[in-house]
Structure formats: structure tokens, C-alpha cells
Symmetry: C2
Subunit: 310 residues, 2 copies
């Protein structure tokens, strides 16, 4: 859902829309680039689109699982994130010391030095994608027919930006499929079409594009090209601040057996499970709706408000 290369030409448009959102009280700046509070109106749009996702997924009867925004470091270490996206990670550190250690910590703090470096690595990481915490809980053999899971959590990406759609922490709502290669591939394609319809039905000018994840470094270039060649990742993009550089508000990913192998998840017939997901970026969709229809719900098209229960 993110592409590292943004044209400078759109930087002004990003900052301008961010400032409009802040002036209207929809986003509340928190003193760090890409970190905001959300207003009640903003949240009501998030909730409205979430309700729509729930209704559109209900015929598939997914299991609902809700993970917190942190997960175990040992699970993180099985995901390859440290190899592929190290710059985006958030690692949680803590203070396990005694009172004497505490005095030293406070002295470092009072001298305005880097007191974070006195802390210890905890057993916890911030969640980089809503489906990551699922896989370690799915280790073992899947039921016949595999599983469909409905997820939502806050995900973290350390990428400070003036683009209001590139937040450091935001919510992903996902439908994940675990099963055979066919199950996963079909899920990805089903949701690519259905997600596109949903976004169009709320008045967004949506396009599906082949995409790649923002793999790190020179080695990452090969990974990006391979991912594109294999048509593994599609994004649903919508103009928010720029029509030339539309923003991915949803992504549909086929992971092959990557997570099945890494987390030892097997299908009923003993093969490594394949997986696929659609992720809806709830903040980005909300920002796109506010851009498209304006900041006052009263001026939104009646049919969009009805679909979202607003």
C-alpha cells in the first residue's frame, strides 16, 4: 500500500491538504510528522466504511479475530520484515532495572541525552501489517477448505511524511484466506473485483494497478520487479492529493506459500498453505471520501451517506 518514490511536485499538494484537514479539526497534529489524532466526524466515516466492509463480507462468514497493535518479537523474526522493510519497523524497548538503574536513567533524561539507549529490547514489536499476528496463531493443519479471517488493527510504518495519507500508524481492515493455492488466488481476485466495486459505489474514482511492496535497498529493486512480474500485488488507487500520483487505499495480495512455509501452516492434505489478503486502509479511504465529497457530510451524495449509514 505504499510506494517510496513520490514526485516532489506533489509535496505542496500533500501539505496543503494536510493543513486543510487540520484547520477543519478533522486531523489533530501531534507534533510528529505523520502522526495525528482523529475527530469524531473522521471516526464516524471510518466506522461507516467498516460497517460496509462487514456487510459485503458477511456472505463468506469469516472468523472475526482482533489483534492489538503489538505482537511478539519472535513472530516478527519469522516474517522476513527485518530483511525487506527494516526502515519501516517499530521495535518496543522497556526499562527492567532497579532503583539505582532508574536514577541513572533519570540522570540521562535530565541531561537531555538519548535515554532511550539505556533501555532494553522487549519481547514486543509494533505490527507492520494486520495479518502478521494471525500467522503464528495458525501454525499447524488447517481445517478442510481452509480458513477465512476478518482482521483489523493499527499498523505501524516509520515513514514520517507531510502526506496526510501516509500516516505512521493507521488502521487496516483485512479479509485473509488460508488454504490451497487455488483458494488463495481466488480470494485475491474475488476481493480485487469486489473492493473496486465498493470503492466506486461510494463515489471514488478507483483504478486497479499492479504494484510492489517498498522493499529496502538495492536488493529490494529485484524483489520489486519480481513481485510485479508475478502479478502478486494489486492496489486500488484513488486520487487524493494528485491525479498523477493516486494513492493506494486498498491492496490485494497473493503471498504464495510464504507465510505457510515460515509459520508451518499446512492444508488438510499436508501441503504448505497459501495465503492471500485484501487490506482496506481505513484512514486513506476516509481521506479520499473527504477529498471527493467535501468536509461537510450534509453535502455528500445521498446514496453514499446511505451506503455508509452516515
Amino acid at each position: 500500500m505504499c510506494d517510496r518514490t513520490e514526485a516532489n511536485v506533489t509535496e505542496d499538494a500533500y501539505a496543503a491538504y494536510r493543513d486543510e484537514l487540520i484547520a477543519a479539526g478533522l486531523l489533530i497534529p501531534l507534533g510528529v510528522r505523520g502522526l495525528y489524532g482523529r475527530s469524531g466526524l473522521f471516526e464516524s466515516i471510518v466506522d461507516g466504511f467498516e460497517g460496509y466492509i462487514t456487510r459485503m463480507g458477511s456472505d463468506l462468514s469469516p472468523e472475526v479475530m482482533r489483534f492489538p497493535p503489538i505482537f511478539s518479537r519472535s513472530a516478527y523474526e519469522l516474517t522476513d520484515h527485518i530483511s525487506n522493510f527494516p526502515d519501516l519497523m517499530g521495535s518496543i524497548h522497556h526499562f527492567p532495572g532497579n532503583e539505582r538503574d532508574h536514577q541513572q536513567l533519570l540522570q540521562t533524561f535530565q541531561r537531555k541525552e538519548d535515554w532511550g539507549q539505556k533501555l532494553s529490547t522487549s519481547e514486543l514489536m509494533l505490527v507492520p501489517a494486520a495479518c502478521y499476528p494471525l500467522y503464528p496463531t495458525a501454525t499447524g493443519t488447517l481445517p478442510e477448505g481452509g480458513r477465512r479471517v476478518d482482521l483489523k488493527t493499527f499498523v505501524f510504518r516509520h515513514e514520517p511524511s507531510d502526506d496526510p495519507a501516509r500516516m505512521q500508524i493507521f488502521r487496516q481492515r483485512e479479509y485473509v484466506r488460508l488454504g490451497s493455492a487455488d483458494d488463495a488466488y481466488e480470494h485475491r481476485n474475488y476481493w480485487l473485483a469486489r473492493g473496486k466495486e465498493m470503492l466506486a459505489s461510494v463515489g471514488l474514482n478507483v483504478t486497479a494497478v499492479v504494484a510492489n511492496d517498498p522493499f529496502f535497498g538495492r536488493g529490494g529493486k529485484v524483489m520489486k520487479a519480481t513481485q510485479k512480474e508475478q502479478d502478486l500485488k494489486f492496489e486500488l488507487v484513488v486520487p487524493i492529493c494528485s491525479t498523477e500520483k493516486p494513492t493506494a487505499v486498498s491492496s490485494c495480495n497473493y503471498h504464495l506459500d510464504h507465510f505457510g512455509v515460515n509459520f508451518n501452516i499446512r492444508t488438510a492434505d499436508g501441503k504448505p498453505a497459501h495465503s492471500a489478503c485484501i487490506g482496506f486502509g481505513l484512514e486513506r479511504i476516509t481521506l479520499a471520501l473527504l477529498k471527493q465529497h467535501g468536509f461537510r457530510l450534509e453535502s455528500w451524495p445521498r446514496e453514499v451517506r446511505d451506503l455508509l449509514g452516515l
Copy 2:
């Protein structure tokens, strides 16, 4: 909402209830003590109680603000948390390096050494209490009559435990008052009474007790005693795993002008603002309801289900 001294006698009861919740699929273990996924049923109870809180607060027309589970380190540094509760903090660290640094990070990781220590201190911290991110946004002069704010976020406390009610990350829903000393004191007392009624109305055996925060170390003992003497903190406690050691599911706090002074928040007449909050621990309330009424909604009292829309 937490008391550091737990009798060992209840440890077995904690582990037993945790295991029951896991066996029923209500909590999903994530490989770290005190860290769980939540099932759809669990979340529906959280949502139900949240709706009840919203209805009971609506006559006060609070501003709705939603902060993410992380906030700025510079705001954290103004809260005194590092002095009072260092052992509970969560500090976020990141990787700002180039490709050569990345190779070194990966080598440390592959040698199974402490790769977290190769990371840099970020500008971000996990949120320790739902109202902390509010105060830096309120710096300046309050409107006449002050403000009432409706908050919710995930809060983090690094305190691994077998007690399912002592999670490392959980949701607090809060009503915060910023205003004069009278405004804040009245808010605390109003919500102490109203919160108690609400918890009783859903069938919980609730008691209000004077309490203290879990201040760190020997110096913390004095802070605890002073806080209790001044009647600043009340907790609404409910038996979950133990009747002798009931669990705080809500707390009502009068902060005097602590946050007003630290964040330079002033009343319309120029004095440092006082503040107060009620915080509802949504996971703990859900765990108390499941303990009281059982794991099957069908067996819950009709009037409780009606109140919670379940």
C-alpha cells in the same frame, strides 16, 4: 487501575480463568504473557459496553477525539511517567541506517544476538494512559467553562502477567474534564457515581475504593500514600478471579493542576487548568461480564443484553 501487590494465593485462579478463556476461543494467546488476540464475541461485548458509555455521556455533549496508541516522545517527557512508572513504559525504536548498516543488523539478527540494541531511539512512545496524548494538544487557554472530551485508545503497560485482566495492551475509554478545580472535582465525583451505577446495572458486584497508582520504587511509597490521603484516585472494583482481590475495571482520577502546569493549559481566567478523568477498562469490564454471566450470551440476563445491545 493497577495494583502491583497481588497475593500469590490468587495466581492459580488467574491462570485458570486465562486458560478457560483461551479454551473457549475468547482470547487468543500470542506467545507473550499478557498479550492476546480477541474473538468476535469478545469484541461484540466491548462494543456493547462502549455504546452504553456513549449513551450515558451524551447529555454532556463531549468532544470526540481519537488518538492512536503511540504519541510523541517530547510529550511523554512532560508527563513525569519516566519518574513515576518507568517499568511500565514502551519506547519505540527504529532503523534509520543505510544498506551497509542493514547488513550489520542482519548479521546480528542471524547470530541470534540482541539486534534491538542496534536500533535508534525514535520520536515515539507507546501511550500509557488514554488521556496523555490529549494534554499537549490542549496547551493554551481553554474556552469559558472548560472542555469535556471523549477519548479511546489502546494503552501499553509492560507488566507480563498470567492474570488475563492484566494485559500488556488494552483499551481505555475515557471522559476527561479540563477546567477549574471545581469543574474537575465535580466531573470526577459525577462519573464515580455514574460509573458505579452503570457497572451495577449490567449485573457486576461493584465497589468504589480509594486507590493509588503503582508508583515505582521506594520513593513511590510516599507518592502512593499521599495520593491516597488526598483522595485523588478512586477505583471501581469487581471480583473477576478473586473476591479478596477484586479487579479495578474503572478509575476516576482528579489530577489537580498536574497536567495543566506541565502542558501550560490555562482556564479562561488565566489560572493553570485542573483536570479529571474517568477511564473504563474495556477488556477488564468484558472479562468481568464473562465471569459473571458466563461465556454464552444466550445465558446472560435479558436486561443486561438489552442494555448492551447484545
